[in-house]
């Protein structure tokens, strides 16, 4: 007899499935990673069902009309190095995915007239940097090349989390160490040094121009609950670079029609491969029998049974809420509870009655990604308040004007300013409802320093704090990585150290979200989860027993 009492529902769980539908794999959550995973599994011949609690698919890849005739990406706004295996493997372009702009370049104004330009092309960047500093321009190509080498070497460690790799963390570390043999001894030493360094220190020792350092530091902290002087910021920089370095083709890209078009293309591709997708289907519980996941139970009590359950939800939701501690080891659940997953990035969309003027930027520059981070110290000061439950008065911004590349987004003359804003904490002293107005005012004021006419141009706006991102998109803490990307929470240590030491914490349950191997709209966690789930199935079919 197995324990038939479920703690959550207090109703006996029958050992024989009373499911309405039997499939090979059920995916909990139809975020972009869930869709990638579902499509890949279906392509390999599995019968897959996706269950999404919301009425629409795509998770953070969402767009909406926030004003009549104006369509904005409400959460994520850039596709970052979408894996070629996904784009080609699922023929996403055939299913309607179009990039209004790929290989987006970056401009970083300092608000006083100087600008750093970072192009996808190293040599073009170098030429532009000469205005700021001759020596920095000389150092840039070598720095970039070196970082890309390390980012590639690191990719195995950062993306191969035990939750998907189904192997021991120490095994993964050995594998990683053997992979970095491609670097020579000095190279390995340097990589280990970079991993534990702050991006601030590394940039300080390489460059002299504050604006350039600020612009580069920005990518080391975006989405991270740390500043550029924090010890793990360089590792995060390399993680972000690893996506770009491994598939340089599209780099950062703006999706035509807004981010929901990516969700549409993915769900179209998934549907074409036979994936069954259900929205408004909220999973309340992952059903465990004999220590293995075997299906899920929905809000209305309906069960969907499958030998493979793949969760797109964050680790805390997946294990602590859907599985429940009664099926988890004490140490593992303690580690999960300790997982830091409070986001510090807010999303802001402003609808403007015309293009604003940024000091130092040309009209043409506005079609690049605009990074407001004039120096390392600026970013570090912006980070300080969140440590004490407040938000930055001078935050750092990542801004794009998507309608400059995609005229379909607005019907009239409105312009869309889409921004990621840091640092805005998940919990604020005094509570968010009370301080929301203050935040919005502060953000507009801070932006006004760099674009003085912005206040007069605002027609309407839409701001999501991490707390609201959590509510809207169902990720604990509102963190777009589903868990902070700190040294103790990345790669083999993600989401919990030793998690893969005995196969997986729960047999038959995989994770395909950002909590498994890193966030951003990359699709990689979904792809990796599908690959590992298939490998797992092959092993168990060969041996005749299910891998636990």
């Amino acid at each position: 007899m197995i324990n038939l009492l479920s703690r959550k529902s207090k109703t006996p769980v029958s050992v024989t499935p009373q499911s309405n539908g039997v499939c090979d794999a059920v995916i909990v959550g139809g975020g972009h990673n869930g869709l990638v995973c579902a499509a890949m599994l279906a392509k390999a011949g599995l019968k897959v069902t996706v269950l999404e609690a919301q009425e629409r698919l795509g998770g953070a890849a969402a767009s909406d009309e926030i004003k009549q005739g104006v369509r904005v990406s409400t959460c994520a706004h850039l596709v970052y190095a979408l894996d070629e295996k996904i784009v080609k493997g699922l023929r996403l372009h055939k299913h309607g995915l179009q990039f209004a702009k790929a290989r987006l370049s970056t401009v970083a104004p300092d608000g006083e007239g100087a600008v750093a330009h970072l192009h996808a092309d190293i040599w073009k960047t170098q030429a532009g940097l000469r205005v700021l500093s001759e020596s920095d321009a000389a150092a840039f190509p070598k720095f970039r090349e070196k970082m890309q080498t390390y980012a590639l070497a690191l990719k195995a460690l950062l993306t191969n989390s035990p939750s998907v790799a189904q192997q021991s963390d120490l095994g993964a570390l050995e594998q990683f160490l053997s992979k970095i043999q491609i670097l020579n001894e000095d190279g390995r030493r340097e990589l280990l040094r970079l991993l534990v360094s702050s991006s601030g220190d590394i940039l300080d020792e390489t460059f002299e121009n504050e604006l350039l350092k600020g612009a580069l530091a920005f990518d080391s902290i975006l989405g991270l609950n740390s500043g550029p002087r924090s010890m793990n910021s360089m590792a995060h920089y390399l993680y972000r670079l690893s996506g770009e370095a491994s598939c340089d083709r599209d780099g950062m890209a703006i999706v035509t029609g807004g981010m929901s078009s990516l969700a549409d293309a993915l769900s179209d591709a998934a549907r074409a491969h036979g994936v069954k997708m259900r929205t408004g289907a909220k999973v309340m519980r992952i059903i465990i029998q004999k220590g293995a996941a075997c299906g899920v139970e929905l809000e209305d009590g309906e069960r969907v049974m499958a030998p493979l359950v793949i969760s797109n939800a964050d680790p805390k939701t997946t294990y602590l809420k859907l599985v429940g501690v009664e099926y988890l080891d004490t140490g593992f659940s303690a580690q999960l509870r300790a997982l830091r997953c409070e986001g510090v990035t807010a999303k802001m969309n402003l609808i403007l009655n015309g293009l604003p003027t940024f000091r130092g930027l040309t009209q043409e520059d506005l079609s690049s990604r605009i990074v407001i981070c004039p120096s390392i110290d600026f970013a570090e000061r912006a980070f300080n308040p969140v440590k004490y439950g407040s938000f930055s008065h001078d935050p750092v911004f990542e801004i794009i004007f998507p309608n400059l590349h995609d005229t379909s987004l607005t019907s009239g003359s409105e312009q869309i300013l889409s921004a990621n804003v840091q640092y805005v904490p998940y919990k604020v002293e005094g509570g968010w409802p009370a301080r929301r107005e203050e935040l919005v005012e502060q953000l507009v004021m801070a932006l006004g320093y760099f674009a003085p006419d912005i206040k007069d141009r605002i027609v309407s706006g839409h701001v999501l704090t991490p707390l609201e991102i959590e509510k809207e998109y169902g990720c604990t803490g509102g963190h777009w990585h589903h868990g902070d990307f700190a040294l103790d929470q990345i790669g083999i240590l993600r989401p919990a150290p030793g998690m893969g030491a005995y196969g997986a914490p729960v047999a038959g349950l995989h994770m395909c979200g950002a909590g498994a191997s890193g966030g951003g709209i990359t699709g990689r966690p979904g792809l990796l989860a599908a690959e590992h789930a298939l490998a797992d199935l092959r092993t168990s079919r060969k041996s005749g027993v299910r891998a636990i």
């Binding site: 324990n3 220590g291 009664e326 080891d329 004490t330 659940s333 509870r337 005995y502």
Partner: protein
């Protein structure tokens, strides 16, 4: 009690029976167990051994760590905590079970008593509160209260232990079965009595309110005299539990939370406790690791040793053809067996009874190191149980 203690500020407290026990101590030999001081030896090893093995021994077990686990989810919680099946334990019964960490290594050994539908008592040798609380995280209705200091525990073991209780007027104990417990009234004092087996003897655990401790102790001693009852200290308990093949945490194995070296913790299988691991019951903490026996084979085993000579060789190195293959963890001269008996941890290929081994043991004799060597052989455990 929960005041934070620096390493040199230890809590020390007398057992509820200390005053009474002290009046019986002819040796003044005491030792520490948790926060308590208990008698190591009251009189002589011979007298105490004889009392326990042939009559009845009275043992102060108050330092046992006692935790009350209650609430609607107590049953499900315990089933997750313990390796043995806890969810079908009837009220007024008790069971024994190890409990493990995620890796399936034994943290400690527990005795579980079910008191009411949603109330259990858990007895352990050491304080494992932090782990119990950690394991309770995520449950809505589980309360964990430590009541170690609120209840004194007396052990009454040996052939005549039942007679002693009957003489006290607690005649209902005659119907009490092994591993059952109940509340009894004795001189208008309510005591919970658990019938159990320990050290190879049948006997009882008596839970006593500290304010009645002296009354109960004195009455037991007075009425027990006719049956040969005597207080028994820790030293003789240790001899008897080695004879019975019972492990002691800290001596025969290191709890997973105390171990600092990676190869020191043991699985229940390595400790010979497989009978208390119910892999079939469904999930419990450590079950995933333990069910992967092929990936994590037992490296060591606990065996019984018959050692030549008369000296106990605790800590002795076990050699086979000159190679170190194990260590003697508990050792004593056994009056019943007439030879030295030991519990030892050996590499798992040396577990066959009859296997000849050598023990090497060094002492400092008149400031010169002296190495002893003794012949030994593996024998079946337990060495001795009193007809049980």
């Amino acid at each position: 009690m929960n005041k934070a203690l620096t390493p040199w500020q230890e809590a020390v407290r007398p057992s509820p029976f200390h005053g009474a026990a002290a009046s019986h101590s002819l040796t003044n030999e005491w030792l520490r167990w948790g926060e308590y001081t208990i008698a190591d030896l009251y009189s002589t090893v011979e007298q105490e051994y004889d009392a326990l093995r042939t009559h009845a021994g009275l043992i102060d077990l108050s330092p046992l760590h006692k935790v009350r686990i209650s609430g609607k989810e107590a049953c499900s919680y315990l089933n997750r905590l313990l390796t043995y099946k806890a969810d079908d334990l009837p009220i007024r019964q008790a069971c024994f079970s190890p409990f493990c960490d995620d890796a399936g290594h034994v943290i400690g050994l527990a005795r579980l008593l079910r008191v009411h539908v949603d109330e259990y008592h858990l007895y352990t040798d050491e304080n494992h509160d932090a782990w119990l609380w950690d394991t309770a995280q995520g449950y809505d209705d589980v309360q964990i209260d430590t009541f170690t200091h609120d209840v004194g525990v007396l052990g009454l073991f040996g052939n005549r232990s039942q007679d002693v209780l009957m003489a006290l007027g607690i005649e209902e104990v005659e119907d009490l079965e092994i591993s059952h417990h109940d509340e009894f009234i004795f001189q208008r004092v309510r005591i919970r009595i658990l019938k159990t087996v320990s050290m190879g003897e049948l006997g009882y655990y008596l839970n006593v309110d500290p304010k009645n401790s002296l009354l109960v102790w004195e009455t037991l001693i007075r009425e027990g005299e006719a049956y040969g009852l005597a207080p028994v200290g820790r030293r003789v308990q240790d001899i008897c539990r080695i004879e019975a093949g019972e492990l002691r945490a800290g001596a025969d194995f290191i709890g997973a939370h105390q171990a600092r070296y990676g190869n020191r913790p043991r699985t229940p299988f390595e400790l010979g406790l497989a009978a208390w691991v119910e892999l079939e019951k469904g999930y419990f903490v450590g079950s995933r690791a333990l069910s992967h026996g092929d990936q994590h084979p037992s490296r060591t085993a606990v065996v019984g040793l018959h050692i030549e000579g008369t000296e106990p060789l605790t800590g002795g190195r076990i050699l086979s053809k000159g190679q170190l293959v194990g260590i003697v963890t508990s050792c004593a001269w056994s009056p019943r067996m007439g030879h030295v008996v030991a519990l030892a941890t050996v590499a798992s290929k040396y577990v066959e009874p009859g296997q000849e081994l050598q023990i090497e043991y060094s002492t400092l004799t008149e400031l010169e190191p002296e190495v002893w060597s003794r012949e030994a052989r593996i024998v079946e455990k337990p060495f001795y149980t009193n007809g049980l």
